[in-house]
């Protein structure tokens, strides 16, 4: 019996890795970026974002949860009755995450 090869394990792997990164790291970053700095609890000149390993960390922090979003949102939209355009949704969701990967790398390299 021929087994059909699909991209599913790759997307699922990225979804899973993104889920772990989002679960452990995103809340503290929302507190820092969304509350601590704007409300003046602490200051931030952005100097730390020029450190190379901080950039590498940010790449992982930003990119992996984008794939997590792509996988979850694709299936959510299908479940909400958009199965008829599921090919288009796949391109928009996974394509969005791929574009996001390049944009993130470009911005981090520019800093």
């Amino acid at each position: 019996m021929a087994t059909e090869k699909t991209m599913e394990p790759l997307w699922w792997g990225l979804f899973s890795a993104g889920g772990v990164v989002a679960a452990f790291l995103v809340p503290i970053h929302i507190i820092l970026v969304g509350f601590a700095v704007p409300l003046g609890w602490t200051s931030d000149t952005g100097a730390l974002y020029r450190i190379w390993w901080v950039k590498l960390y940010l790449f992982v922090l930003i990119v992996l949860p984008l794939y997590h979003w792509a996988h979850r949102f694709y299936f959510t939209l299908n479940d909400m009755g958009l199965k008829s355009i599921s090919k288009l949704l796949a391109v928009l969701c996974y394509g969005g995450a791929i574009v996001g990967t390049f944009v993130t790398a470009w911005i981090l390299l520019k800093i």
């Binding site: 509350f35 931030d44 000149t45 984008l66 959510t76």
Partner: protein, 137 residues
């Protein structure tokens, strides 16, 4: 091997209304969990826009962080934080199911495995906080 069975086009499909997830509390919580990924992604895109300002000029970066002080942005970050925390908790709960923990022969109960994840999350968060404070200037 070709599929053997009835023609899929002739099968009966019950039509599911698009609002099926509003009919039951667990369906609704499931949908909230799925939607958490949208708010996490939105937060990360805003964060990316903030980092992009750094590549322009330090003034642009400061102006952006000042703008996040408005009630609208604070509200957005509050909603994003609640969704992110919901994602964390549900993720740790499902991790306890997917990755059961054993000590010798004994299987550790799921609530304890979830609690261990929450503990690890707290430690990681404190480490990120300390590194941020140490490196920011």
């Amino acid at each position: 091997m070709s599929a053997v069975g009835p023609d899929p086009a002739k099968l009966y499909h019950r039509k599911t209304p698009a609002t099926w997830w509003l009919t039951n509390r667990s369906y609704f919580l499931f949908m909230l969990r799925e939607l958490s990924s949208v708010f996490i992604a939105l937060f990360l895109v805003v964060y990316l826009c903030q980092l992009y300002q750094l590549s322009k000029a330090p003034d642009a970066y400061n102006a952006f962080t000042q703008k996040l002080n408005s009630p609208g942005w604070i509200f957005f970050h509050l909603v994003a934080l609640l969704f992110a925390l919901y994602h964390s908790f549900t993720w740790f709960q499902s991790s306890a199911v997917v990755l059961p923990l054993r000590i010798g022969e004994r299987l550790i109960s799921r609530p304890i495995v979830t609690a261990l994840h929450v503990g690890a999350w707290a430690v990681v968060s404190v480490i990120v906080l300390i590194l941020f404070l140490a490196l920011k200037s």
